[in-house]
C-alpha cells in the first residue's frame, strides 16, 4: 500500500491499483480492492499555531494527554499533568507554560524546550519518542513556542463540528477505506484533521484502523463501526461488509424481528441456516426462559405432540411458570448488586431478590419495576427495593449504575471530565446526580440499613469541577421545573418511561436480545452510544418500539423474541454463514451459566446440591445472593458473579482449564454421579431394557433420542461386565451402575450438554 499526500487530498492505492482523489462526501462502495476515496477541501493554515486548535490536537494524537500518561488521575506523570484528551485547554496551558519553573518552554531557544526534548526523546522520556524532530507536529509545536506560546483561548475559534467522510458505506472483505476528517470552527473555517484524529473500530475482528485513518476490512461479514474522535467530538464511520452469497431461500417470517433480520441478511448476502428441530427448540427455549433443562416427560410430550402450535404453547407455559421468575430474578439480582457483605444483610437480600422474583412472576411492567427501585422509600422489609439504596449509597454511584443498567449509558468518565467517547459532559453527569440529591436517610434498628425518604427541598448538586450548583436534568433533556415538594426521582422515572425516551427501552431490549442470542445488537450491551452503533439499527428501533407499545411488558418481549423464526434458526451453519457472528444468520451456541449448569447436572444425575439454610431442592438459579458462591466450588469455577458490578461482564462465560478439570475429576461431580437414588443408581436397578435407559439419558441430557450408533455404543458399554480391584467380576447391578455413571459423565462432558445450542 502506498499513501501519497497532496495538500489535504489523500490517495491510497491497494494492491497496486491507483486511487482517484475526489470530493465525494457520501457513501462509497469498495468493489474488490479498487476504491474511490473522498477528499475534503483544504483548511486554512494559520500563520501562528493556535494552542487550542493546533497544539492540543498534536498532544492528543501523540497520546501525551491519555489516561495512561500525563492525564493520569492524580498528578499526571512525573509531575507533568495534562487534562484528559485536552478537554481543559486553560489548565493545560498553565501546566505547559507556567509550571515546572517555566522550563517546559524555552523562548530563547525553542528547540531546547523540555516539551520538545521529551516528546522527541532527546532527553530521556518515560513515554519514549512521541514524534520525530522536524516532523510536522514538531514543527508546529516549535512555531507555537517561537511565536510566544500564547494561549489565545478566548480569541481563537472554537471547534464546533466535525465531519467524517465517508460516514457509512459498504466495503468488501479484504478491502480498505481512507477516512477524511474535517473540523469546523466557530469562525466558519474548517480544516482537514485526519492525521490528528483517533480511530477505534467497535469490532476488531471485522476491521482495524490505522493512525492515518485507513480502515482495513477483514474477512467477517456484517456491520462494523469505526469511532473517530477529534478533541471533544466523536463521529462514526459505519460500514456494511457483505459476504455476497445468494440469499434466495429464507424461512418463513413470523414477526418484525424476522423481517428486519432477514432484510439485513439479504443486504449483506448471508443466507440463514434452517429452522432448528423440535428437540433443539425445546431444550433451547427451556434453558433460555426457565433456566433449566426440560424433563424427560416434558421432552417426550413435546416431541410426540402433533399440535402445530406446540412451540407457542411451550413458550406460554414457560412464561407462566415460576422458573421464568426465578431465572430472570437471578439475572437482575446480580446486576442490582444484591450481594452479602455482612451476615445481617440476609434479610435485605432475601427480600430484594424475592421482590424481583415476584415482580417477574406477576409480570410487573418493566418501567414500574425500575420506578419502584429508583424512587424507593421506606424500610427494606416493607418495601424491598429500598435494599438497592443499602448497596448503592452515594448519588454518583447511583446515577452511574442507573445509567449503565437502565439506559445503557456509561457515565463514569463524565464525573471528572468530558466523556471521551460520548457527548456527555460533567454538567450532564451532575445534572443526573441531582435527581438523587434529595434522598433522605434515617437509621433503622438494623445496623447499616437506613429508611429512605424524600427530603423536601430544591434538588441540586454541586459540579465538583466548577463548584457551581446544578439542577436535575435527564440525559439530553432540558432541566425540568421540579418543586421542592416533588421527589425528583419520580421525575427521572417519568422521563425514563416516556415513550419517546431514546435510551430506556433500547437498553432493555438490547440486554434481553443478548440473553437469547448471546450477542447484543450493541456490544457491550450497556455501552450504547452514537460511536458504538447497533449491528442492526432498524431492529433495535423496532424492538424498542414494540416494547414501549406493549407497555414495557417483559413477558411479551420474551415471547416475541422466542417465537421469531430468527430465534428458532439452527445453530448449525450452512456453507456461507459460518463466519457470521453478529447478523443472527444462525443461532450462536452459548455456555450454560454457572447456576443453570449446576441445576442441569443435578437434574441429569438426580443429585441435589444443598445450600446452607435453604430448603433441600433449592435450585441454583433461585439463590438470592452471592454468599452461596462459597457453598459450592462449582459456582465460583463456572463464573457466577459476586454482584459487585452492574455489568453483565462480571459473569464469566468463557471456558477454562479449571472448569474442564472440575468436570472431569472433582469430588463434587463424582459424588453427584454416584448419588444414592440418583439416575445412575435408579437405571441400574430398573427392569427396563438398557436401550430404554440409554434413551432416557439422551432425552434427559439433550432432549433428543439417541442415534443408532450412539445407542449401540452405549448398549455395548453398559453390557460390558466390570471387574473389581481384585479382578473379580462385579455383580451385574453394580456393574451397570458404574456403566451408567460413566455414560452420564460422558454425556455431561459433551459440548451438546455444556452449551445451549
Amino acid at each position: 500500500m502506498k499513501t501519497a499526500r497532496c495538500g489535504s487530498a489523500i490517495t491510497v492505492s491497494v494492491g497496486g491499483c491507483p486511487g482517484l482523489p475526489a470530493c465525494l462526501g457520501m457513501i462509497v462502495f469498495a468493489i474488490g480492492s479498487t476504491q474511490i476515496y473522498p477528499v475534503v477541501a483544504n483548511d486554512q493554515v494559520a500563520s501562528v499555531p493556535s494552542f487550542r486548535n493546533d497544539v492540543i490536537p498534536i498532544l492528543t494524537k501523540a497520546s501525551c494527554n491519555s489516561g495512561a500518561c500525563h492525564a493520569k488521575a492524580g498528578n499526571g506523570q512525573n509531575g507533568f499533568r495534562l487534562s484528559l484528551l485536552g478537554f481543559e485547554p486553560q489548565e493545560d496551558f498553565e501546566h505547559i507554560v507556567k509550571e515546572g519553573h517555566g522550563r517546559r518552554i524555552f523562548f530563547a531557544a525553542p528547540d531546547q524546550s523540555l516539551l520538545l526534548l521529551k516528546a522527541t526523546n532527546t532527553v530521556p522520556h518515560g513515554g519514549g519518542k512521541r514524534m520525530e524532530v522536524d516532523s510536522a507536529s514538531y514543527t508546529t509545536l516549535k512555531r507555537w513556542i517561537e511565536s510566544g506560546a500564547a494561549s489565545n483561548l478566548a480569541s481563537d475559534p472554537q471547534l464546533t463540528a466535525m465531519d467524517v467522510q465517508p460516514s457509512h458505506g459498504i466495503l468488501q472483505v479484504g478491502s480498505q477505506q481512507q477516512l477524511t476528517v474535517t473540523a469546523k470552527y466557530s469562525n466558519g473555517t474548517q480544516r482537514d484533521v485526519t492525521h490528528f484524529s483517533l480511530y477505534e473500530p467497535n469490532d476488531k475482528a471485522m476491521a482495524t484502523a490505522s493512525d492515518e485513518g485507513i480502515v482495513s476490512i477483514h474477512d467477517v461479514p456484517g456491520n462494523v463501526a469505526v469511532m473517530v474522535r477529534y478533541q471533544g467530538l466523536v463521529s462514526v464511520f459505519s460500514v456494511s461488509v457483505p459476504l455476497g452469497a445468494p440469499v434466495d431461500k429464507l424461512p418463513a417470517e413470523k414477526n418484525f424481528i424476522d423481517q428486519l433480520v432477514f432484510a439485513n441478511l439479504r443486504r449483506i448476502g448471508v443466507p440463514p441456516s434452517d429452522l432448528c428441530d423440535d428437540s433443539t427448540f425445546l431444550r433451547r427455549v427451556t434453558l433460555d426462559i426457565g433456566g433449566r433443562l426440560p424433563t424427560v416427560e416434558e421432552t417426550s410430550d413435546f416431541l410426540h405432540s402433533g399440535d402445530p402450535k406446540k412451540r407457542e404453547q411451550l413458550v406460554e407455559s414457560l412464561l407462566s411458570g415460576p422458573d421464568y421468575a426465578d431465572y430472570f430474578a437471578n439475572k437482575w439480582a446480580a446486576l442490582l448488586k444484591n450481594r452479602r457483605d455482612e451476615t445481617s444483610d440476609i434479610t435485605a437480600n432475601f427480600a430484594f431478590h424475592s421482590w424481583l422474583r415476584d415482580g417477574m412472576l406477576a409480570n410487573k411492567p418493566y418501567d414500574q419495576m425500575v420506578r419502584e427501585i429508583l424512587a424507593a422509600t421506606g424500610t427494606i422489609v416493607a418495601n424491598p427495593p429500598v435494599a438497592w439504596y443499602k448497596r448503592v449509597k452515594e448519588p454518583q454511584q447511583q446515577i452511574e449504575d442507573i445509567a449503565q443498567l437502565f439506559l445503557g449509558v456509561r457515565m463514569q468518565c463524565a464525573q471528572c471530565h468530558h466523556h471521551p467517547f460520548e457527548r456527555w459532559s460533567q454538567t450532564d453527569y451532575y445534572s443526573l446526580t441531582a435527581f438523587f440529591s434529595q434522598v433522605g436517610r434515617k437509621p433503622t434498628s438494623t445496623r447499616g440499613e437506613d429508611v429512605i425518604f424524600h427530603k423536601r427541598g430544591l434538588a441540586q448538586t454541586e459540579n465538583k469541577k466548577t463548584r457551581q450548583p446544578v439542577r436535575p436534568a435527564a440525559l439530553g433533556s432540558p432541566a425540568p421545573d421540579i418543586s421542592a415538594d416533588e421527589d425528583p426521582r419520580l421525575r427521572l422515572a417519568d422521563w425514563m418511561s416516556d415513550k419517546s425516551n431514546p435510551f430506556f427501552a433500547k437498553a432493555l431490549v438490547n440486554r434481553y436480545w443478548k440473553h437469547f442470542f448471546r450477542r447484543g445488537l450493541v456490544e457491550p450491551e450497556d455501552d450504547m452510544r452514537d460511536s458504538n452503533p447497533p449491528t442492526n439499527p432498524e431492529l433495535l428501533d423496532a424492538l424498542a418500539k414494540h416494547f414501549v407499545t406493549s407497555n414495557f411488558d417483559l413477558k411479551d418481549l420474551v415471547r416475541t423474541i422466542t417465537l421469531s423464526t430468527t430465534y428458532q434458526l439452527s445453530s448449525a451453519p450452512n456453507d456461507y454463514n459460518v463466519v457470521d457472528r453478529q447478523n443472527y444468520s444462525h443461532y450462536y451456541p452459548k455456555h450454560l451459566t454457572a447456576e443453570v449448569f449446576l441445576d442441569s447436572i443435578d437434574q441429569f444425575t438426580g443429585a441435589r446440591t444443598e445450600f446452607p439454610g435453604l430448603p433441600v431442592g433449592t435450585r441454583a438459579v433461585s439463590l438470592p445472593d452471592n454468599s452461596y458462591n462459597n457453598s459450592t466450588k462449582f459456582l465460583k469455577v463456572f463464573g457466577r458473579p459476586e454482584g459487585a458490578s452492574v455489568c453483565e461482564c462480571e459473569r464469566v462465560q468463557s471456558s477454562s482449564l479449571a472448569q474442564s478439570l472440575f468436570l472431569m475429576n472433582s469430588a463434587e461431580i463424582k459424588a453427584k454421579l454416584a448419588t444414592g437414588e440418583g439416575r445412575a443408581d435408579r437405571l441400574s436397578k430398573s427392569n427396563s431394557a438398557d436401550a430404554e435407559n440409554i434413551r432416557e439419558l439422551y432425552l434427559a441430557a439433550y432432549s433428543r433420542e439417541p442415534k443408532i450408533d450412539e445407542l449401540q455404543l452405549a448398549e455395548a458399554y453398559v453390557k460390558k461386565l466390570r471387574l473389581d480391584a481384585q479382578g473379580a467380576p462385579l455383580e451385574e447391578q453394580q456393574s451397570k451402575r458404574l456403566a451408567y455413571e460413566d455414560l452420564i459423565w460422558a454425556l455431561m462432558n459433551t459440548k451438546e450438554f455444556l452449551f445451549n445450542h
Binding site: S320, A325, A351, L361, A362, N383, G613, P615
Partner: protein, 747 residues
C-alpha cells in the same frame, strides 16, 4: 396506690456500667413464657393448650390480660396436673383481639406471650405439611395455628370459586413470632401464582373454581418453635377492605390517643392531589383519609386569623402502618391572578425523647423508640389569610395501597402527655439484651428501675409525677418525677425483704397539673418480645404490653439488698455534704467489684461508691454544693452491676437433702427391722418359724424398697446439687429509694 413518693425528678444519663466478663450469665433466672400452642382460640370455645418457657416448670397457673379468658391445669387420668398443659375457656363475648398470656410461677409472674381471640374456626396443625402431597386442607373461614420448620415450606390446600375474594392472612410478627412470613398462592400443581413477602397478606381472586395451594415459609427460611404463625382464610366482604388479624401494638402507638370526639369529622374526599382538587376545611377538625395512590398528596385549604395557634397531629405509623407522614403548611398569597405559596411550617417526625440503641454489640441506649414517623406540632398564624396544608407519605412515592390510612387532627391547644415505661438496661455483658424482656417478677428485697418517657403535647411543659396503683402487699413503688421541660423519669419498684408470694395487675400513672387541674394518665409498659442473647445477631423486637402485672417470688430473696440504714427522710442544708450510711444484706457470695452510681435528677455526679464485697455497710457521700442541689425534696437510689455466685433452685436442693435424710432414716429402720426379724426367724421354734420367716421376707422387701428410695433420693440430691452449683451471674442491683430534703441555708 400504696406508695407515692413525693419526689423531684431525675434525668440521669444512660446507664452504662461495664461489668463485662465472658462466661457470666446475665440476669437472675426469671420466668418466661415462650410459646403457647395454639396461639389463640375461637370465642366461645374451650380447648387445650400447651406451653413452653423458662423457669415455668412448677407453674400451675396461666393468666390472661382479659377476664374473658380463663385457664385451668389439664388433669391427667390420675387426677394430677399434666405438665405444661392447660384447658382454656374463652367467653363468647371475648373481644376479637390480642391478649397477653402469662404464667404465675415460683419466681413470680412470667413474661407475656400474645394470645389471639378470633371468630374463625380454629385448626392446629398436627402433622408435617412440608410437601405438596401433604398439603393440609384448610376451609375458608378458618385459621390454622402452626410453626415453620427450618429450611422448609408449609403447604395448605383450599377450594375456592372463580371470582370469590379470598383473604389469606398470616399473622406472625403481630403475635410475637420471630417469623417474617412469605405467602404464596399456587395452582393445584404447586406452580406459584402470586406472592407476598411484605406483610403476610394476599387477597386472592381465583381465576377458576378449583383447588389452590398456599405456601408459607420464612423470608430467610429460618424456623423452629419460636417461628409460629396463624394462617387465616376468610372471604373478603364485598366492597370493603379485607379483614386482617389483630396484632400487638408497637411502642410508638402509646402517644396516640383517640381524637377529641367533639371535633367535626371530615372525609379526605379524594382526589385532592392538586390545587384544583384542594379541599376546603374549617378549623378545628379531624380528617380521616388515606395515602391511597402513589405519591399521593392530600391538600386542604383553610382560613386563619392572625394570632391563632393550631396544633396538628397525624396518626398513621402509630396505627401500625409503614408510613411516614409529612405535613407542609403554606400561606396562599395572591397578587392579582398570581398565587404564591409561602412556607409557614414543615411538620415531620415525632422525635424520640431518648437516643435509641444502635443495636451494636455494646449497649448504647434503649431499644424502645418512643418517637414516631407521625406528625405532632403547631402552626402560628402571623397574618389573616388563606392557608394550604399538604399531607403526604414520605414512603408512598411508588405504592398504591388504600390500606395506608391516616387521621389528621387540627385543634386548639389541648395540653396533655402520654407515658411509656420500660426496664432500664446497662452494659452487663456485651451483646446480651435478655434483661430487656424481664417481667416484673421480684425476689424479696429487690428493687428494679424503669425508665418512664413522656411525649408532651400542645405545649404542656410541667412536672409529671409518677406513681403506681393497685400494688399488692409487699410491693412498693417510688416514682421519680419527670421534671418540667424534660421527658424522662425513673420509676423504682421494690419488694419487701420478707414479702410473701403474690401477684396483681397494677397500673403506672403519671399525673400533672394542667390548666389548674390535676390530670392522671395511664403509663404503658413496653418490653422486648424475646430474650436477646446477642444483639449483633438478633434485633430486639419491642412492643407494648396489655397491662402491668407485678409479683413477688416468696420463695427466693434477692442476692443483695441495699437500703439506707435508717428508713427516714434524710435532711441536709444546702451546700453541705450529706453522708448516708447504707446497709447491705448479702445473701450469697459475690465476685468482682461492686460500684454504685446514683439515680436521681442532678445527683448523677455523686461520687461512685466502691463497695467492698461482703461489707455490711458503706457510706454514700453526697456533696450537695458540688452538684448544686437546690433546696427541696428529692429522691435518689444507687445502682450498679454485680456478679453473684448464684445457686439456682437451692430450695430444691434443700428439699432433696431433707428427703434424703428422711429416706436414710427410713432405710436404717428397715435394715434394723429386717435384721431383727431374720435373726428372730433363725432362732425361732419350728411352730413360729414360718410366721416369722414370712414377716422377715416382708421386712426384706421393705428394706429393698427403702434402698431404692435412697438411691432415687441420692440421685435427686445429685441432680439438685448440679443445678445449684454456684454460677457467676451478673445483674443490675438497685438500692431502695432514699428520700432527701435539702433545706435552704439560713441567711
Amino acid at each position: 396506690m400504696r406508695t407515692l413518693c413525693s419526689l423531684l425528678g431525675t434525668n440521669v444519663a444512660l446507664l452504662t456500667v461495664a461489668t463485662c466478663a465472658l462466661g457470666q450469665t446475665v440476669g437472675l433466672p426469671t420466668p418466661r413464657l415462650l410459646t403457647v400452642t395454639p396461639m389463640g382460640g375461637q370465642a366461645g370455645t374451650e380447648f387445650e393448650i400447651t406451653v413452653t418457657g423458662e423457669n415455668v416448670e412448677d407453674s400451675q397457673e396461666l393468666l390472661f390480660s382479659t377476664p374473658h379468658i380463663a385457664a385451668k391445669p389439664k388433669l391427667g387420668a390420675d387426677g394430677k396436673a399434666v405438665p405444661n398443659k392447660f384447658v382454656v375457656a374463652i367467653a363468647a363475648d371475648a373481644p376479637t383481639s390480642i391478649h397477653d398470656a402469662r404464667m404465675m410461677t415460683r419466681l413470680g409472674v412470667s413474661s407475656a406471650r400474645a394470645f389471639s381471640v378470633s371468630k374463625l374456626t380454629e385448626v392446629t396443625r398436627t402433622q408435617p405439611n412440608t410437601t405438596l402431597a401433604s398439603a393440609l386442607p384448610l376451609a375458608i373461614g378458618s385459621v390454622c395455628n402452626a410453626t415453620i420448620t427450618s429450611r422448609a415450606v408449609d403447604y395448605y390446600a383450599f377450594e375456592a370459586k372463580a371470582g370469590q375474594r379470598v383473604a389469606i392472612d398470616c399473622a406472625a410478627v403481630g403475635i410475637d413470632s420471630k417469623l417474617v412470613p412469605v405467602l404464596i398462592v399456587a395452582d393445584s400443581k404447586g406452580r406459584d401464582l402470586v406472592a407476598n413477602r411484605v406483610d403476610g397478606f394476599i387477597e386472592f381472586t381465583p381465576p377458576a373454581t378449583g383447588s389452590y395451594i398456599i405456601k408459607v415459609h420464612g423470608l430467610t427460611f429460618q424456623g423452629g418453635s419460636e417461628y409460629f404463625y396463624r394462617l387465616a382464610l376468610s372471604e373478603s366482604p364485598s366492597g370493603q377492605p379485607a379483614p386482617r388479624q389483630a396484632a400487638t401494638r408497637r411502642v410508638s402507638s402509646f402517644s396516640w390517643t383517640a381524637a377529641d370526639a367533639s371535633l367535626p369529622i371530615l372525609d379526605e374526599g379524594e382526589p385532592s392531589n392538586d390545587r384544583a382538587g384542594t379541599k376546603k376545611i374549617s378549623l378545628p377538625c379531624r380528617i380521616d383519609g388515606a395515602f391511597a395512590k402513589a405519591a399521593d398528596v392530600d391538600t386542604f385549604e383553610f382560613q386563619a386569623t392572625k394570632g391563632e395557634v393550631w396544633w396538628i397531629e397525624v396518626a398513621s405509623e402509630r396505627l401500625g402502618l409503614s408510613t411516614d407522614p409529612f405535613l407542609l403548611v403554606q400561606q396562599v398569597v395572591r397578587d392579582g391572578d398570581q398565587e404564591k405559596l409561602v412556607d409557614v411550617a414543615e411538620l415531620n417526625d415525632i422525635p424520640s425523647p431518648m437516643k435509641i440503641s444502635s443495636n451494636g454489640y455494646s449497649y448504647d441506649g434503649p431499644v424502645y423508640d418512643a418517637g414516631s414517623a407521625d406528625v405532632l406540632g403547631k402552626i402560628e398564624i402571623k397574618e389573616d389569610g388563606t392557608y394550604r396544608l399538604q399531607l403526604r407519605d414520605l414512603f408512598g412515592g411508588t405504592r398504591n395501597d388504600p390500606r395506608n390510612i391516616y387521621t389528621l387532627v387540627i385543634r386548639r391547644a389541648a395540653p396533655d402527655f402520654s407515658l411509656v415505661a420500660w426496664a432500664i438496661h446497662m452494659e452487663l455483658r456485651n451483646g446480651d439484651r435478655a434483661a430487656l424482656s424481664k417481667p416484673i417478677a421480684l425476689r424479696g428485697g429487690t428493687t428494679v428501675a424503669f425508665e418512664v418517657v413522656a411525649i408532651r403535647k400542645d405545649g404542656f411543659d410541667g412536672d409529671i409525677e409518677l406513681a403506681m396503683e393497685g400494688l399488692p402487699r409487699g410491693i412498693n413503688a417510688c416514682g421519680l418525677r419527670i421534671p418540667a421541660g424534660k421527658n424522662r423519669g425513673i420509676l423504682l419498684i421494690s419488694s419487701e425483704q420478707d414479702a410473701a408470694s403474690v401477684h396483681a395487675t397494677a397500673k403506672i400513672v403519671g399525673s400533672a397539673l394542667i390548666n389548674k387541674e390535676y390530670r392522671a394518665r395511664t403509663c404503658f409498659l413496653a418490653s422486648t418480645v424475646w430474650p436477646v442473647r446477642d444483639a449483633s445477631q438478633e434485633i430486639p423486637n419491642p412492643r407494648l404490653l396489655a397491662d402491668v402485672p407485678v409479683s413477688v417470688s416468696g420463695s427466693e430473696a434477692a442476692p443483695l439488698t441495699i437500703l439506707a440504714k435508717e428508713n427516714k427522710l434524710w435532711e441536709a442544708t444546702e451546700g453541705d455534704t450529706l453522708k448516708i450510711p447504707l446497709k447491705l444484706n448479702w445473701r450469697c457470695e459475690f465476685s468482682g467489684a461492686v460500684r454504685l452510681k446514683t439515680l436521681g435528677d442532678s445527683f448523677e455526679g455523686t461520687k461512685i461508691i466502691d463497695v467492698p464485697l461482703s461489707a455490711p455497710e458503706v457510706e454514700a457521700v453526697i456533696d450537695l454544693a458540688a452538684m448544686k442541689i437546690k433546696p427541696g425534696d428529692h429522691a435518689i437510689a444507687f445502682y450498679g452491676g454485680a456478679v453473684a455466685k448464684y445457686r439456682h433452685k437451692l430450695h430444691e436442693l434443700n428439699a432433696a437433702q431433707e428427703h434424703l435424710k428422711l429416706v436414710t432414716e427410713r432405710l436404717a429402720a428397715a435394715t434394723e427391722t429386717s435384721k431383727h426379724l431374720a435373726d428372730e426367724a433363725a432362732a425361732a421354734t419350728s411352730d413360729k418359724r414360718q410366721e416369722l420367716a414370712a414377716a422377715a421376707l416382708q421386712a426384706a422387701e421393705a428394706l429393698k424398697t427403702a434402698e431404692n428410695e435412697k438411691l432415687a433420693a441420692n440421685q435427686r440430691v445429685q441432680a439438685a446439687t448440679d443445678v445449684a452449683q454456684p454460677k457467676d451471674l451478673v445483674d443490675i442491683v438497685v438500692s431502695e429509694p432514699i428520700r432527701l430534703r435539702v433545706n435552704p441555708r439560713s441567711k
